[in-house]
Amino acid sequence: MPAQHTKTVTVSKNGVGRAPGRLLHGIALGFERQPGLASVCCLLFICVTTFSVFAPSFLSVSNFLTILRQNAAAFISAAAMTFVITTGGIDLSIGAVAAFSGIAMAVLATFWHMPPLLAVAGALCAGAVAGAVNGLLITRVGMAPFIVTLATMSVFRGLSLVTAQGYSLPLPEDSALLEWAGRGWIGPVPVPALIMLFCVAAASITLHRTRFGRYVTGIGSNQEGVRRTGVNVRRVSLIVYVFSGLAAALSGVIMAGRLGSASSNIGVGFELDVIAAVVLGGTSLTGGYGSVIGSALGILTLACLKNGLILAHISPFLTQIFTGLITLGAIWINMSLKGRDLFGIRKNRDDR
């Protein structure tokens, strides 16, 4: 590809060309295009090596699949949250929407005796509607995303509590399909992990390889500028929030399926874990730059941390402290890497 060639020339002029090995050079180029990925990769590597030493059962295929299975919902929501944050917005309502969708599914299946597929569709619709409400208030009324989703978080949590009356609603025992999304297996691979991989791949391709993804990035960078080129920025933002609600609903379906019941207090604090992972993955909280792969690695890092601390017989109470410290550390690394490449060499910012 000729374009790749031009890039190589530019970089080697900055001194990286002397680095040993073409592989390292390639990795460096990759990181240069996605600067936030460098720090999260380092942290993940440190986590994995540390726990591999201190917890013998950590580094195994079955434990890896367990981590994917347990965190599938977070992966999916993080992929959608990456879009929201890349536009410069935020969605605090995803935990509540996940709970509400789970409850909706349980009510439709258990009390309204709907077939499982319709119950799942109903839950996803509930999530999409919740996202549309957020999106309309933000794009049409012009309210700040933080305020809107803080309020709807409260509303949807309340709706879940009212609907379930505080109980945990069991899924009907005769419909294995409802639980399939949360605890099914296809051969040796858990179903939630497959759903998650599909969502993350689709989201990453959409963000980097489609017009829609380009406008999402553009809106976060300069909304008025994108509007002046004739793009319907309101519609793009609205779709982003609908996606976020839809992803939260899918998360809710998976979580309810895994537990075999829907509870109104599922996913409390879920949104904060997801946001932390997205930021950890290098997505700019002020918008304009996002990486779905980075967010997935962020979730993976936090998940490895939780899983590893337990396997290493360290108090689970310490997990939250580590999560917070790691997030701070990652952002610190990101900031000091800014304007430098992987080897800490200052980049020639002005291409004069």
């Binding site: 960078s221 500028g225 994108v226 304009g288």
Partner: protein
């Protein structure tokens, strides 16, 4: 001028915001391929006038004719469809998007893979390089993010983006403000090149010396009307300053 209708003609343009009336009947005509310098002190009505011509504001009264055709612009899109494009002073570029992405923002070429439309980045980059080269703009790498470029390069990208629409009329708002000397030269030669391609250009600037390099004519707006028009070879910086301020004024900045 020949028998052709003017590329742009504005007749009796007024605009009122409540009790304030920034435009009180502007009459202005530009021939095809003409470069007009639009001058005026802050608040004289320059930006209101250009917003009306570019469709961002509707006039309270008056007519706009493009190539002799009466036009009504309800939005910037309408004006763009009529061939009138504006490059705003803040450039409207996305810093975190690369050069090619900015040039094609809003009309990216797509390539279908399995029926799904994906960005055709290879075409974008090769055509972006051609566009920039055709306008004599030196940007080595179309993959570079715009936030890392110099002010002159950004200005060139913004102008190139507008030029890519084959505009009949191009409005440039302060394109040389806050640029280094060499960058000003590059932007002025870009303007000249566009004029040679037959684009009618309205240039707003506070750098009066630039006008003498690229303009054919200047119009001075004061108190919401065209207070004076001058052929560029029949005027001087001193006279222009007097016209802008509206009285005999011993402007130290003119000497």
């Amino acid at each position: 001028m020949t028998g052709l209708p003017p590329a742009v003609e504005m007749r009796g343009i007024t605009r009122r915001f409540g009790a304030i009336q920034p435009l009180r009947g502007v009459n202005l005509a530009l021939g095809r391929g003409e470069v007009l310098g639009l001058l005026g002190d802050n608040g004289a009505g320059k930006s209101t006038l250009t917003k009306i011509l570019s469709g961002a504001l509707a006039p309270t009264d008056g007519e706009i004719l493009i190539d002799g055709q009466l036009c009504r612009f309800a939005s910037p899109r309408d004006a763009q469809d009529a061939g009138v494009h504006m490059v705003y002073q803040d450039l409207s570029l996305c810093g975190s998007v690369d050069v090619a992405g900015n040039l094609f923002m809003g009309r990216e070429p797509v390539r279908r893979v399995l029926g799904l439309p994906f960005l055709d980045t290879a075409t974008m980059h090769s055509r972006a390089a051609e566009m920039l080269q055709g306008l004599g703009v030196v940007i080595r790498d179309t993959h570079a993010r715009v936030e890392g470029l110099s002010g002159g390069q950004r200005q060139a990208i913004a102008i190139a983006r507008a030029a890519a629409f084959n505009p009949g009329v191009l409005i440039l708002d302060e394109p040389t403000a806050a640029l280094a000397v060499m960058e000003v030269e590059a932007v002025l030669s870009l303007i000249t090149r566009l004029r040679d391609q037959g684009v009618t250009i309205i240039l707003i600037t506070h750098r009066l010396q630039d006008l003498f390099h690229v303009c054919d004519r200047v119009a001075v707006i004061r108190n919401g009307v065209v207070a004076a028009e001058r052929q560029i070879d029949e005027t001087s910086i001193g006279e222009l300053v007097d016209l802008i301020v509206g009285e005999r004024f011993h402007a130290r900045s003119a000497h």
